[in-house]
């Protein structure tokens, strides 16, 4: 390996891995967003709020269980479920009446809901920074790439990404539910005409998508400070990823998240001050040459 490091510095590898663990979070959130966009055609800005609620719930669960590592694993189960429950209420109470509305209206409406959720989070948790402890198992660093320390928790994230991707693939391609959802994405009237309860399918897809947002929120919680405003920062990135990958395409979300995560982490290496502009440059470049995204869109 030393020969390799003499050509490419070890720091680059390390930074690639940092980018990949960021990719995991972005992919999990964006895949939920793209699922909802593809099947229900709702550009859900409130998706970011659900991610934030997931992170804050994780904070509460770990705090209630005494701040130990069991708390995190419990949060990993409970928080996404709590988010899913909230989304189920929102879907049955509001979104199910809106599937035929114009996109601009839906965008504004979900933005309004994100504002409401944002303030409700402020009401419940206050506006201080919160932190969630890294679970005991994954505390500390491992020497990777010529001895550079790499956080163990990020390795856990790296493993979690593919697991979620495979589960999603199985869900959409190997279950009857997934096949119906994919059919409904292409032609919802026809699916309804053959006697399938489309409304219920939509509700399930919506809840699964939001579950993923909550999951992303819990997973990201130990690596960042949990704070208000994390919703608006993330949702824009998730939207750009989804657009870049092709609306409604889960593999597109994966590809988009990879591009976004890697340009972000490597950009910081190339030009520390303006690292944050590289992902946006990548999105612009992609959209200039492939206006409807890299992979096939379901729209």
């Amino acid at each position: 390996m030393d020969a390799v490091y003499s050509i490419i510095p070890a720091g680059v590898f390390s930074q690639v891995f940092v980018g990949l663990s960021r990719t995991t979070i972005l992919f999990i959130v964006a895949s939920g967003l793209t699922l909802i966009l593809g099947v229900l055609r709702i550009p859900n800005v409130a998706h970011g709020s659900l991610y934030m609620i997931g992170a804050f719930t994780a904070f509460s669960v770990t705090k209630l269980t005494g701040g130990g590592s069991e708390g995190f694993w419990l949060a990993l189960v409970i928080a996404p479920l709590a988010v899913a429950c909230i989304s189920l209420i929102a879907e049955r109470g509001m979104f199910q009446f809106l599937y035929e509305r114009e996109h601009l209206m839906l965008l504004l409406l979900t933005f309004a809901i994100s504002l409401i959720f944002g303030d409700l989070v402020k009401l419940v948790w206050g506006s201080e920074y919160k932190s969630v402890p890294v679970p005991h198992m994954f505390q500390g660093f491992v020497p990777l790439f010529g001895g550079l320390p790499f956080p163990l928790y990020n390795l856990f994230l790296l493993a979690a990404g593919p697991v979620v991707a495979i589960l999603l693939w199985l869900l959409t391609n190997k279950t009857k539910m997934g096949k119906i959802a994919r059919a409904a994405a292409v032609d919802r009237e026809m699916v309804g005409a053959v006697g399938i309860n489309v409304s219920r399918v939509f509700a399930i897809v919506f809840v699964i998508g939001c579950y993923l947002a909550g999951l992303g929120g819990v997973l990201v919680a130990p690596t960042v400070s949990v704070t208000l405003g994390m919703d608006h920062n993330l949702i824009m990135e998730a939207f750009l990823i989804v657009i870049m990958g092709g609306l409604g395409n889960i593999w597109g979300a994966l590809l988009g998240a990879l591009i976004f995560g890697l340009t972000q982490s490597l950009g910081i290496l190339i030009w520390p001050k303006f690292g944050i502009i590289f992902p946006y440059l990548a999105v612009v470049a992609v959209l200039l040459f492939r206006p409807t995204g890299l992979l096939k869109s379901t729209w």
Binding site: L108, F111, K122, I243, F274, I276
Partner: protein
């Protein structure tokens, strides 16, 4: 315009002109902010309501105009008048460049590409400490003597806003404005009868950018500061809400929407920190129960069967 509306407008203008005479300083400031936000929302409505273009990131042009004016005022030794011309022109140039890049795409994709480009501009402004002041922004911008007091800033804002509104009104009423509305209602047919659809849309984007830049420069006059949040996408959404709330198929709707939202924000913020919650609830109610906006609703209500509302049906 009928005689009645002209006299009504005249009365309104006179009342507004008397504002600083009998109102305390804070309300003068508030009135200026309402005027410039109204101008900003009206400039967005030029492309969104009349042009049917999904301009999702209008705040970029507002922010760029404000930064352009500020940087000219603070970094160049030129007289202030050049700064106030440069700001809007830089915005118009951004409108042109972003327009050329985005115009090939339609509707939602147009909006998303614009948001990504706008976020790029935001990120640069946010990080370029040496030039733009980074995330702190620039505060205490020196103003020329003539417009440095709140009262004179109000009069300046007022005059510029009225002139800009008049020009936009003329633009919408011109053949170009009619073509723009025709493109909104049926782009394919407009193309078929020989209209260069993209060129017209592009011109509309440049004009909207210019007037957003004017609003940005006015903000510098009123507040003497700029900050990167002026370019963040959540502000763009708020501007769209102003248009929606007032009614985006009416000319003065966005101004009304801006007045309602800026006014409410000021007074709600005095009592609670949960302004976003209130705004969110207002938005949901408007979208569900008043989709054509306050003024749009009034026009429908009072002029039904008499004259079709401005811009035709939705």
């Amino acid at each position: 315009m009928s005689r009645k509306t002209i006299s009504g407008m005249g009365a309104g203008i006179i009342i507004l002109l008397l504002f600083p005479v009998f109102l305390p300083r804070f309300y003068v400031y508030l009135a200026s902010v309402i005027l410039l936000y109204g101008l900003l929302a009206t400039s967005l409505n030029l492309v969104l309501g009349y042009g049917g273009i999904f301009q999702f990131h209008h705040a970029v042009f507002y922010g760029v105009g404000a930064y352009g004016t500020t940087l000219m005022l603070t970094k160049s030794g030129l007289p202030a008048i050049f700064a106030f011309i440069t700001g809007p022109l830089v915005s118009a140039a951004f409108g042109l460049v972003l327009g050329i890049i985005c115009i090939r795409l339609s509707r939602l994709y147009f909006g998303m590409l614009q948001i990504s480009l706008g976020s790029l501009v935001w990120a640069i402004v946010y990080r370029w400490y040496a030039f733009t002041g980074g995330d702190d922004g620039i505060h205490g911008i020196p103003m020329p003597e003539m417009i440095s007091s709140p009262k004179s800033a109000f009069y300046f804002t007022f005059i510029i806003t009225i002139i800009s509104l008049y020009i936009m009104w003329k633009i919408i009423r011109s053949p170009f404005g009619s073509v723009l509305q025709g493109i909104r209602d049926n782009p394919v047919r407009s193309g078929m009868i020989g209209i260069n659809v993209r060129r017209h849309q592009l011109l509309a984007l440049v004009l909207a950018g210019f007037f957003a830049g004017v609003a940005g420069s006015l903000f510098v006059v009123v507040d003497n500061s700029v900050f990167p949040d002026m370019l963040f996408w959540t502000l763009s959404m708020e501007i769209v809400i102003m248009c929606l709330l007032g009614g985006w198929f009416t000319f003065l709707g966005p101004m009304l929407g801006a007045a309602v939202i800026v006014g409410l924000r000021t007074f709600v913020s005095m009592y609670t920190v949960y302004w976003a919650l209130v705004l969110g609830i207002i938005m949901v109610l408007v979208i569900f129960f008043l989709p054509s906006g306050i003024l749009g609703y009034a026009v429908e209500k009072f002029e039904r069967g008499f004259r079709k509302p401005e811009g035709g049906e939705q």
